[in-house]
Amino acid sequence: MPAVEISQITKSFGALKAVDDVSFIIEKGELFGLLGPNGAGKTTAIRCMLDIFKPDSGSIALLGGPMSESKKDLIGYMPEERGLYQDLPLDRCLTYLGSLKGLSPAEVRRRSAGYLERFDLVAYKTRKVKELSKGMQQKAQIIATILHHPELLIVDEPFGGLDPVNTQMVKDLLREQREQGVTVILCSHQMQLVEELCDRIVLIDHGRVMLYGGLADIRRQFSGNVVKVRTEGTLPDLKGVERIEPMNGSIKLHLDPGTAPQDVLRALVTGNITVDQFEISMPTLDEIFIRVVQGKGDRT
């Protein structure tokens, strides 16, 4: 049974179609990336998922069925727009938010003590939230999101405002959640982090699904027209190579759409060129993102 099953949902606001026939499945226990440029419809899709918005059409199943009040206690949601009570001391704020997820105040205090320790916030727990730095507030928001040990965790831009040390801490935490069987949906613009963390992704643009699947499969789909070559001598003219790009002692060959990497390898061997390295270059998620969003999403 998938953790999230979205089938052909559409949601419009007036003339604007924010989500248009979007479908994807998120399996239990996976770390799933929900990507898209600003205004692509990610947040609307999440709000539909969480029943904040009702989709105009289509269906959503969450943790085995439609969203319900009782399921709210099984979900942790950290929206992109952070929301903490600025005038409350941090510990009281966490106690309240945790208690709304069904925990007793004593249990919230017990659990939050560990997280505050881990996130270096113990010394600040009696300070008002507005007195904390942006990064500290970010960490506090993450604690509030996972305090009740959700089965489904939806985090929207969790790394914003964090320094490298805290970014690593949050990365470890998300991995740890996945290892514990929690399904994690990660929305982020930091493609490198998505690449590092996610098993599968969906990329939405203009409300429509542009890419969906395993990260390795997607990268493979977009690979093939670039090969990385290192040789001892200079390269001869090669047929089917559109552009040559030197990089760190090796060369990146951008191939014509009709040229396969094997054709280039054959030409090198035939030309008696000593090849130290020949590698089909996998595009980064960043490159794929840009190509898809800019409408150059041709796959091999």
């Binding site: 009702k54 009040e69 979900i75 949601y77 952070r82 903490l84 009570y85 709304l100």
Partner: protein, 402 residues
């Protein structure tokens, strides 16, 4: 249901443990103490306790009976006899007396007398001297008859059906429902103001999105309204305790406080009108909070609710003078004006049962309608960051986010 209580408890603690609330709570007792202090100051300034002299040529005061005891907060003044006007005058010039009266020989027949003073005589001084004269004019009469003649008649007005009566000593009982109504309105708006502010803040600081993935909008709104009522009742209870303590302390000085009687009918009327009014105002304030983009805008809209609530206060003269006129009956049935109108009318007349039932019915229905409206405004407006929700959207058949 537990989440409703958690929201309510959080809201209650958040506002009641706030310095602003405590200051607001203390402002009313401080105002009352200041007013009482002013009353005592005015009385003290109007009282001159120097003796009053008299020169009696009529023989009425040859063997005077003492003046009757004075009623607090007035203080007794000594009545000092002088053998002639020269002696009295020199005592006045020496500042030993505040004034002296001269009773001519034919005083008993003509009733005229002279008074000599250097500074204007306080009314309490002259009244005490006249009481002294009256007591001596009535000397030798039956004491009960003499007392009855000196003190004014106590008239008790009774309703035709005998269900109600009121006398001059009960004037504070007449005022009490109005004072209680005003206190409730102040409490309603203080607590409602907190509620509105909290909703706007939750929109402004984006807490709303986190909250509504934990509780339903209806649970959240119900918790807030419960907290609002609890905050208002806390205020009223604190004020009531303070007033009770003040009454106990000062009842010997302020005799009008002794006759306070609150009928069960008045208490019931307050319960059936003020409780739903509280819910209605709380829900309307929440509606405003959910529809506006920022707190300042909300404050401006609060006037739309507060103004009608104060109309009966501004029209007290009409309500007291013509408590059963069509205008007053209309005010009794309109939900925003009915609480204060009905409470003032209750002091002045016997309100027909159908009007009580209709007023309470309209009020309860308005409270239910307001809660529905608040829930809808909340669902539609909760994620409208920086953008106002148009009122017509509230009544449209389908909202943008539902």
């Amino acid at each position: 249901m537990i989440k409703v209580w958690r929201v309510a408890l959080h809201e209650y603690q958040r506002h009641v443990l706030n310095r602003r609330f405590v200051l607001g709570l203390l402002s009313v007792p401080i105002l009352i103490i200041a007013m009482l202090g002013l009353i005592f100051l005015v009385i003290a300034m109007d009282t001159n306790t120097k003796p009053i002299g008299y020169v009696d040529h009529s023989g009425l005061l040859a063997n005077p009976v003492p003046p009757p005891p004075v009623v607090k907060p007035d203080r007794p003044i000594e009545m000092r006899p002088f053998s002639d006007e020269a002696a009295a005058r020199s005592a006045l010039d020496a500042g030993q007396i505040q004034a002296y009266y001269v009773l001519p020989k034919d005083y008993r027949i003509r009733g005229s007398l002279n008074v000599v003073h250097l500074e204007a005589l306080k009314s309490s001084s002259s009244l005490q001297f006249y009481d002294f004269l009256a007591a001596n004019l009535l000397a030798g009469k039956d004491p009960a008859t003499a007392r009855r003649l000196v003190t004014s008649a106590k008239v008790t007005v009774q309703s035709a059906d005998g269900s109600r009566q009121i006398s001059g000593d009960d004037w504070f009982s007449i005022l009490f429902p109005m004072i209680a109504g005003i206190a409730f309105i102040i409490a309603m708006f203080t607590a409602g103001g907190y509620l509105m502010q909290a909703v706007v803040e939750e929109k402004e600081n984006r807490t709303m999105e986190v909250i509504i993935t934990s509780v339903s909008p209806n649970q959240f709104m119900a918790g807030k309204i419960l907290a609002d009522i609890a905050i208002g009742l806390t205020q009223i209870l604190a004020w009531a305790v303070f007033i009770a303590v003040m009454v106990l302390i000062s009842r010997s000085s302020l005799t009008f406080l002794n006759g306070i009687q609150i009928s069960a009918r008045t208490v019931m009327l307050m319960a059936v009108l003020l409780f739903p009014a509280f819910v209605m105002v709380a829900a309307l304030m929440a509606t405003i909070g959910a529809t506006v983009a920022e707190a300042r805008e909300g404050q401006q809209m609060v006037g739309l609710i507060s103004l009608p609530l104060w109309i009966p206060y501004m029209m007290t003269g009409l309500i007291i003078g013509s408590p059963n006129s069509p205008v007053v009956i209309a005010l009794s049935l309109f939900p925003l004006t009915s609480p204060l109108t009905m409470l003032v009318r209750d002091s002045m007349t016997i309100i027909p049962v159908w009007q009580v039932v209709a007023s309470a019915g309209v009020m309860i229905l308005s409270a239910i309608g307001s809660v529905w409206l608040a829930g809808r405004a909340f669902r539609l407006g909760m994620l409208r960051y920086g953008k106002r929700l148009a009122w017509r959207e509230l009544f449209a058949r389908q909202g943008a986010s539902s």
